[in-house]
Symmetry: C2
DNA sequence: TCCTTATCCATACGTTGTATGATTATGTAC
DNA sequence: GTACATAATCATACAACGTATGGATAAGGA
């Protein structure tokens, strides 16, 4: 792991130089490919064919690298705004889907992204405009708009967290769940037991897409009711 | 850091012995007090007045310690079931509040807990009974019950994640937000700008409790509408 | 031309998780 | 009892990590 053939000292004018962006891009590549644990300063430096300590000229420490990654993901987030040509609830749903898609692009980073508050709040405010606009069109007051937007975002965050923790696109809840439920003394969870039986063996193939849509519908319906009450 | 006065070898019959539970309890204490980064195997061993390598007799590695902590938090989760004496939506809300409270008890662990899928799915199924019961009483079909429960849980997870990432009980969105919004070219986020102005300087003191309640109301309203459509 | 500053490299230190193996006691089989 | 597999602990050691320190080299303004 010796950087053979590397001259020490500041690079000459024409030569390639390191940059914060280059570092973060390389880091994102490593994380996407091999997961967040594979991201070490030494590994990152090796990928960039650079001495580990060179990184510290562009970023103060590893935490800053991780924060930068979160920032990168959010910066790449663009919510389409179909404008007023569609009903407000459809507008809201489209924005929500785009937000989820953005988070899904780097599943191994989801946890880091969602827990980095500063990255979130810095970019999010502007990015969220389509949310606010749709909720405004729905007829909500300013405070209600913020509350509804937060609720929706919280849902998407929680959903994405769950989604990111599972590899497959769809996963069968049924077989796993059935065995577990059957193993219970039925009186500990009577409703659950009954529901599972009602479903039969076939019923419960859960897939994330329809789960997300179901949540969106519930939320928009609830928001519509709030608007009507005004 | 030498365990002076400690005999080597297996402890005598009467003597205190290490156990998985004792280790996890000590670990939880460290995390609650000083955060998850303070939890190292050596620190944990020191707290228990034990050699670091002794831990590995009861847990295979550090990841298992963290997973055990997540398990512990979920195991301590008990959702009250007021039964059918209250309307179903109130029953649902109470269970949801209890779930949030449970996650709030160890804020520095929230991230670990929420991202540990296995711990979640193992215990959650039974714990969730009050959710299922309330949704059943609302008149939903089996599949809808699962979808609604998942949506609600996703919301709580996302909310708790945000809540755990912030120290204070309440935090002022207003001043921070105002400056940031004002710094924008207003046309980039016109609705946001207008809304913030409508709110005035006073309006937007966001606190988590009312944010959570607002989300709960939106969700139960949406669920009620789904039930009515059947 | 000189000097400050930017950029990169080499070395080194303390900390981490844990592999390996020695040490001592327990509990069972005979 | 005596032998022995097993359990529980400790001691030592190692590779990998983040990063502090300081030296090398070149850039760019004075």
């Amino acid at each position: 792991m010796v950087n053979v053939g590397k001259r020490s000292g500041r690079p000459r004018a024409g030569e390639e130089r390191l940059s914060r962006d280059a570092i973060l891009t390389a880091a994102l590549g490593i994380v996407d490919d091999e997961g967040i644990d594979a991201l070490t300063m030494r590994r990152l430096a090796a990928t960039l064919k650079v001495n580990p300590m060179s990184l510290y000229h562009h970023l103060p420490n590893k935490a800053a690298v991780l924060a930068g990654l979160a920032e990168l993901v959010f910066a790449g987030l663009e919510l389409p705004d179909p404008g007023d040509s569609v009903p407000w609830d459809e507008q809201l749903k489209q924005a929500a889907r785009a937000y989820r898609d953005g988070l899904r692009q780097h599943p191994k980073l989801a946890l880091q992204v969602l827990s980095d508050t500063s990255a979130v709040s810095d970019v999010v405010v502007v990015t969220m405009e389509p949310f606010y606009r749709a909720l405004d069109r729905a007829g909500l007051g300013p405070r209600q708009i913020f509350e509804a937007a937060n609720t929706l975002i919280d849902f998407i965050h929680g959903f994405s967290l769950g989604e990111a923790s599972v590899r497959a696109e769809t996963f069968e809840l049924a077989p796993d769940l059935l065995t577990r439920v059957r193993a219970l003394p039925a009186h500990k969870a009577p409703t659950l037991t009954r529901i599972v039986n009602d479903l039969g063996a076939d019923g419960l193939a859960y897939d994330f897409d329809s789960g997300f849509e179901s949540g969106l519908s519930t939320l928009t319906t609830g928001i519509a009711a709030t608007a009507r009450r005004r």
